[in-house]
């Protein structure tokens, strides 16, 4: 293998891209658009959810326990309204104008005080706050339940009473201020590189076959391994550049947290680009025309998008489908890139993922070389 000949191929691929401004723009603009859309529309935090409070706990003055709890509700999540009857409040949830009803029992303040003073005759229902939520959308109901629980806990703490057991989750091991975008940005960047590289290699190689350039190269001193390596260098460079632009955008636009070594993350993405390049060459032998090559797009992109842990963890995927996740190179890349960026892990911790990616890369590149070397 002669490096100078492989580099000639690398230069050729990069020049092709440089001359094609439209293609160049697409490489960066399309994923930028995707990351912006997801970042804006899909922050993972619900806001302004209307809940209706039915407060039977009225005490002279304003020192009722219910008022203290209500004042502790997180108003960035909840938009609190009041009603005098439970049935009216429930009707508001049923007609869609509210998402939950919070019912404070009458004499809550007195009952709690009595229970605290050791009176065991206080009925459980007199100290139970009812939360009737529309649970058809857990993305909405879970934050409501969380907000109410937090408010109750804070109120009790404010009274100077000690709960028998408490959980303190304020000290995070990783991702202290992580938002949903922090979680999926590394995944989206990996998927963008995966998609672009596979598709570009696929189309380039179908082009090499149909335009006769591949015949000319096979008849030249260029070795098949040099051709594959040349493409790999080129797409390693393109993938790294693309991910650098996307990560910069994610930091500027959405203040994505980066605690780890960015260069290590880029290294993993470059490796993923090389895996994709091998796959692209292999797939190109199945397509006769560019139009057929485009149809591979959903096959390549969708499983990676849905099953490699970009939006939800692998553990959330049904067990029978999980083997598919583990067959996808993107699963390992997403995991490694996320661990580096969000947790600051080094090569000493992500090496299992890197090894798997290296195996994928070697197998795909060798198969691609053999495929090209095979003469009809």
């Amino acid at each position: 293998m002669k490096v100078s000949r492989a580099f000639a191929v690398t230069k050729r691929v990069l020049r092709d891209l440089k001359n094609d401004r439209r293609q160049l723009a697409l490489i960066f603009i399309a994923p930028l658009l995707v990351i912006s859309l997801f970042g804006v529309a899909f922050t993972g935090n619900v806001k302004d959810v209307r809940v209706v409070v039915v407060n039977g706990d009225v005490v002279a003055g304003n020192s009722s326990l219910s008022d203290k709890i209500i004042s502790n509700l997180d108003t960035s999540v909840l938009n609190v309204a009041y009603s005098n009857s439970e049935s009216d409040a429930v009707a508001q949830v049923q007609n869609g104008s509210a998402s939950a009803v919070i019912v404070f029992p009458g004499h809550l303040t007195q009952s709690v005080a009595a229970r605290a003073a050791g009176q065991t005759s206080v009925a459980q229902e007199n100290i139970t706050i009812k939360l009737l939520a529309d649970k058809s959308n857990p993305n909405v109901s879970n934050p409501i339940i969380g907000a109410v629980n937090t408010a109750v806990a804070e109120t009790i703490e404010g009274l100077g009473r000690q709960a028998p057991v408490s959980v303190d989750s304020s000290n995070a091991i990783y991702g202290a201020n992580a938002q949903f975008i922090d979680f999926f940005a590394p995944g989206i960047i990996s998927i963008a590189v995966w998609q672009l590289t596979t598709l570009l290699t696929l189309i380039s190689f179908v082009g090499e076959r149909t335009s006769g350039t591949l015949s000319r190269l096979l008849a030249s001193p260029l070795k098949e391994s040099e051709l594959v390596a040349g493409y790999a260098f080129a797409f390693g460079i393109i993938g790294t550049t693309q991910s650098a632009v996307l990560l910069t955008a994610a930091v500027i636009l959405f203040n994505v947290t980066i605690v780890g070594d960015v260069l290590l993350a880029f290294g993993v993405i470059a490796l993923l680009a090389i895996v994709s390049e091998g796959l692209g060459i292999l797939l190109s032998s199945l397509a006769r025309r560019e139009a057929q090559a485009i149809q591979f797009l959903p096959i390549v992109v969708l499983p990676a998008f849905l099953l490699s842990g970009v939006f939800w963890p692998i553990q959330a995927i049904p067990a029978w489908l999980r083997p598919v996740s583990y067959l996808l190179p993107t699963t390992y890349a997403v995991e490694a890139v996320r661990a580096v960026i969000l947790r600051g892990w080094g090569l000493d911790k992500i090496y299992p993922d890197v090894v798997v990616l290296l195996i994928f890369a070697s197998v795909f590149l060798v198969l691609a070389t053999l495929l090209l070397r095979r003469r009809e």
């Binding site: 230069k11 020049r15 350039t213 015949s215 000319r216």
Partner: protein, 242 residues
């Protein structure tokens, strides 16, 4: 000295379809050998086997004394595929530089060769234009230049003049004759019978086999015709005198 190309009992099977059937022929050093025949006669398959792009099913083929496929002959052979085999998104210069680097030429060598070849094909002014912006005829000329870049001793030209207007075709044949006079051997396929008179020797191909071979004049004399087209038809109909 052996001939530059020597094919013996060559056969090529594409999944039951015999593209080449017991073909034998020789191309002498320094001659232009024209392989003539209708589309589908197997001309391109012969060229691809000689260039090492396809593998023979049986029989053997030697190029510059090496049995093909053999990577070691590739640097001494030039190949112009039927499809133009140019990168449409690159400029003329970028295409030539790429193929030059693939053939291991230095930057200085590429510059010298590029100048000479662009002059030969009369496209010096188009050096920095994209292939996509050139006319079909110009692209053909660049494709030829790419095949000549590394000064091959033997040239395989697959339908170099298809889709080329008559003026340019005439100048192509002038290049080819010039190259032959400088000692380069050429195997050219074409289905334009009339232009084959420029060749030193011709082989008529049909259904994967050679049905006649000789100099243009010999073939005309033997068939008592006055055009190569009629001569081909005469052989084609009678399966002619071998």
């Amino acid at each position: 000295m052996m001939d530059d190309v020597c094919i013996r009992d060559l056969e090529k099977d594409f999944g039951g379809f015999k593209a080449i059937n017991k073909l034998s022929l020789r191309v002498k050093r320094g001659e232009i050998y024209g392989l003539l025949g209708p589309n589908g006669a197997g001309k391109t398959t012969v060229i691809k086997i000689l260039c090492g792009v396809l593998r023979p099913s049986s029989g053997e083929a030697y190029v510059l004394d090496m049995k093909v496929p053999d990577p070691s002959v590739s640097s001494r052979v030039g190949y112009m595929p039927q499809e133009l085999a140019l990168y449409r998104g690159l400029t003329v210069h970028e295409n030539l530089a790429f193929y030059g680097e693939v053939f291991g030429l230095t930057k200085a060598q590429i510059d010298v060769r590029e100048q000479a070849l662009l002059k030969l094909v009369d496209l010096e002014a188009s050096r920095n234009r994209l292939i996509d912006q050139l006319s079909g005829g110009m692209q053909h000329r660049i494709s030829l230049a790419c095949a000549l870049l590394h000064e091959p001793q033997l040239l395989f030209l697959d339908e170099p003049t298809v889709g080329v207007d008559p003026d340019l075709r005439a100048s192509f044949w002038r290049y080819f004759e010039g190259l032959r006079d400088s000692g380069i051997t050429m195997l050219i396929t074409t289905h334009y019978m009339d232009e084959a008179r420029h060749c030193d020797r011709i082989g008529f191909m049909r259904d994967g086999s050679l049905i006649a071979e000789g100099s243009p004049q010999q073939l005309l004399d033997l068939t008592h015709t006055d055009s190569l087209e009629d001569a081909f038809l005469a052989y084609s109909q009678t399966e002619g005198p071998q």
